[in-house]
Amino acid sequence: MSDRVSRRAFLAVGAAAVGAVIQDTVAAGRVYNPRWAGRAQAPITAADNDPGIQAIEKQLKCSCGCGLDIYTCRTTDFSCTYSPGLHKQVLALAEQGKSAQEIIDTFVAQFGQQVLMAPPKRGFNLAGYFVPSLAIIVATAFLVRTLRRWTRAADVAASESAPPPDATPAELERLRRELDRLPG
């Protein structure tokens, strides 16, 4: 008799335990294994979505080695352990009332120039920005000069070798128009 009661009690306790687990995992909205979803995330705040903060973060490189800016890294690689900290640092500096440029300067002072997604436009870095444009301008000038020389030489050769056209200017213009009409 006592055995039967104890079995019933055991089943009741077991059912209660299973119910508690189910309630904990389902009713309370807990997932089966949180680790499968990666690092636990903090809820998004208004500051996280602030376009001003995002604009600053897009100019600063994450130090995890991904090559992305802080904003893109923290909203893409959710396993990155660097970008959330760097984001918090940006938020803290903004809360101190620092301007965008001051925040960027603070990061440069801390991490060096390589924290910027593009080198600042001063000193040797100017070569980075202007050498391609200068090279193209010089190449264009060279090309135009060469083309002029070629076309002048071709004009001279044509005037020396070609017999005068046996046609009136009107006929020549008509011929030119006809040739223009041909595809290609």
Binding site: A28, G29, R30, V31, Y32, P34, R35, W36, A37, G38, R39, A40, Q41, P43, I44, N49, K61, G65, C66, G67, L68, D69, T75, T76, F78, S79, G112, Q113, Q114, V115, L116, M117, A118, P119, G123, F124, G128, Y129, V131, P132, A135, I136, A139, T140, L143, V144, L147, W150, T151, A154, D155, A157, A158, R176, R177, L179, D180, L182, P183, G184
Partner: protein, 675 residues
């Protein structure tokens, strides 16, 4: 199998050396027996390397984890689909794959080249065997995929989750095919220089191979962009990463070549330039390989740092010195047969087009190498990221887009003012019309405004060319206009296929312009809660988090979040985004959890949803919602570009198929006596 793999690599090394020696000796001495031996060597080289590839694949499928490469890139529970692609998932395997494909191309160049270009073939065999031997040397002495370990692990490390995507199965081979096949045009260029047969004949042999290379590289780049977009989760497709840049460089140079080669074919000009472009494109492909495999520049794409970088650096320097020395000795033989007659001519516009292509290539190369240069000069490391590349390259890209429309409108040799007026009237009007419409619609982003307006100009140019050609056929043969337009493509595939490529480029630029209007927001949502996001078109998306489920699939534990999507209150369906924790056969986690993006793609915009993670292990999810306008046009533009490339590549139909001299102008008339 490793013994067979080792032996076949050594055999490939010896056969490659033999092919190189007999190829060059046979060509220089004119000995038919050596030439034939070199040709056979390319077949034997391919055979030996195929045996090596099969050996490695067998080891991968048998899970022989005693082989370091198999243990490093595969695991027992890796899906079969990805067991195949494990061949090129790592440095060593990809080098073997590279050498094998190169030997395949070397063999095909010998088998498929027409008889009239036979004089070049011994040298082509020599160059291709030499390059393949270099890769086999790297495999044997620095990156042997058959290397065994002192112990055998129970399971392998598995493949990086981001490589477990269909895009990654096809993207690397396509890129490799593009990279590797550049060796064939390069080999023909060296053959022309060595044999001193520098007339337009080598160009005919080389043009198709360059097109093959260009097309593979284009497909590889596009697949890479697609993979980055659907897999990486950052919401973009091009990040100006050094390795992406390295793949773009030879493509730009080859595109310049495919334009300037027309001037050499039609007018016998630019011989020096064209040879330099082909040599440059190949050297850039080796440079790209050096960047990817040496770790000299930090990149997310790079293989692990190893000594192979030194091999590639030495090879690059030696190859560049040898190629340009040979080139310099042949300069007197490369004089132009004709002179440029006018600054306003198709030839001149192609020269400016070349200038821009090379200018963009230079600026990309400069930006890629600038961090190294900065460290050398000022001792400071700098980062050269997308803001730099966009600032420098967007204006150049727009100028190039303008020339895409201008070039076809200008006549060969010399364009007259009436001709220019007649040609430009409709396209310029179309471009201005598009510009005004966009202004009225409120578009103010200068880059995007110019890209779409110039796109309108180029599309009008192409349509005008098609309309004129079709009308001419309609007049001449009485064909219906639609049929005439189709036959137009069939009869001159190169020209009209090229125009279709131009249309593809316009679509790509329009797609790129769309990214200027990207909008995004982050939100933390409990089941049943919603976030809203306004699209650039003014639509309001309501995104409701439905819940999170977890389950096991293949080699991973999946956390899936479901989102209900409504636009302006109208239901559009549900999107799923996932976190995947890959596990080994024993269920232990192997890598950091990766993200699978939920994408709803449309003509106007893509809705792009990323699950960031969960709050405190509950169903409260952190999302990033992004609206990417016009991304679909990038992929569609890619299809159009590839279609145009295939039309150009398709055999026959070109003007060169016509025997005898082609009339430069006027009408072809059959004389009485010819009948």
């Amino acid at each position: 199998m490793t013994l067979l793999g080792h032996l076949s690599l050594w055999l490939a090394f010896l056969v490659g050396l033999w092919g190189a020696v007999t190829g060059f000796a046979g060509g220089l001495q004119g000995r038919a027996d050596l030439q034939q031996s070199a040709r056979h060597a390319t077949v034997a080289l391919f055979g030996a390397l195929v045996v090596a590839v099969i050996s490695l694949e067998v080891a991968i499928f048998r899970h022989d984890f005693n082989i370091e490469y198999v243990a490093a890139y595969t695991s027992r529970n890796l899906p079969t689909f990805y067991l195949w692609s494990a061949l090129y998932a790592g440095q060593k395997g990809s080098l073997l794959f590279w050498a094998t494909v190169l030997s395949l191309f070397a063999m095909l160049a010998q088998l498929l080249t027409s008889r009239r270009h036979r004089a070049y073939l011994p040298y082509v065999a020599g160059v291709t065997c030499l390059v393949a031997t270099f890769f086999v040397t790297v495999l044997l002495f620095a990156a042997n995929p058959f290397e065994r370990m002192a112990f055998t692990p129970v399971d392998g490390r598995g493949m990086n989750p981001q490589l477990q995507n269909p895009g990654m199965v096809f993207h690397p081979p396509m890129l490799y095919l593009g990279y590797i096949s550049i060796t064939i045009p390069f080999a023909f260029a060296i053959a022309a220089l060595l044999s001193k047969k520098l007339d337009a004949d080598w160009l005919v042999a080389v043009r198709k191979w360059t097109l093959v290379s260009w097309l593979f590289l284009a497909v590889g780049l596009l697949l890479g962009m697609w993979w980055a977009y659907v897999e990486l989760g950052w919401g973009g497709y091009w990040a100006w990463d050094p390795v992406e840049n390295a793949a773009l460089l030879p493509w730009l140079v080859m595109t310049a070549f495919l334009h300037s080669v027309m001037i050499q074919e039609k007018r016998g000009m630019l011989k020096k330039w064209n040879l330099a472009l082909i040599i440059g494109a190949w050297l850039l492909s080796i440079f790209g390989t050096f960047i990817t495999r040496s770790g000299v520049i930090a990149s997310v794409h790079s293989f692990t740092q190893s000594s192979v970088g030194y091999f590639f650096l030495v090879f690059l320097v030696v190859a560049a010195a040898a190629s340009f020395t040979l080139y310099a000795t042949r300069l007197p033989l490369l004089t132009a047969e004709a002179r440029l007659e006018s600054m306003v001519s198709r030839e001149a516009s192609f020269l400016f087009n070349n200038l821009l292509f090379i200018g963009i290539a230079f600026s990309v190369l400069w930006g890629t190498l600038f961090p190294i240069l900065s460290e050398l000069v000022q001792g400071t490391k700098v980062t050269v990221g997308p803001p730099f590349f966009n600032q420098v390259n967007v204006p150049l890209g727009l100028a190039l887009l303008a020339l895409t429309g201008i070039g076809p409108l200008i006549a060969w040799r010399r364009a007259s003012m009436p001709n220019l007026r007649r040609q430009f009237a409709v396209p310029v009007t179309a471009g201005v019309f598009v510009f005004l419409i966009l202004m009225v619609a409120g578009m103010r982003d200068f880059g995007a405004l110019m890209a779409v307006s110039l796109g309108g100009f180029v599309v009008a140019t192409v349509l005008q060319e098609f309309a004129r050609g079709a009308r001419a056929r309609h007049r001449q043969f009485g064909e219906p206009v639609a049929l005439a337009a189709l036959r137009l493509i069939g009869r001159n595939r190169r020209r009209y296929g090229g125009y279709i490529v131009h249309l593809g480029i316009v679509l790509l630029f329009v797609g790129f312009a769309g990214m200027a209007f990207k909008t995004e927001t982050q939100a933390t949502l409990r089941p049943g809660e919603s976030a809203t996001l306004k699209s650039p078109y003014g639509h309001v998306y309501t995104l409701t988090h439905l819940g999170v489920s977890q389950y096991h699939a293949l080699n991973r534990e999946v956390t899936a979040a479901l989102v209900d999507v409504r636009r302006d209150g109208k239901p559009l369906g549900r999107l799923k985004t996932e976190k995947r924790q890959h596990v080994d056969a024993a269920g232990n986690p192997t890598f950091e959890p990766s993200t699978e993006v939920g994408i709803r793609s449309g003509l106007r915009e893509d809705l792009y949803i990323v699950l960031g993670g969960l709050v405190d292990g509950t169903e409260q999810a952190v999302y990033r919602f992004t609206i990417n306008p016009l991304v679909w046009w990038v992929w569609f533009g890619g299809y159009v570009l590839v279609l145009g490339g295939l039309i150009v590549l398709w055999p026959g139909g070109g003007p060169q198929a016509v025997k005898g001299p082609r009339p430069q102008a006027g009408y072809a008339v059959k004389l009485e006596a010819e009948r």
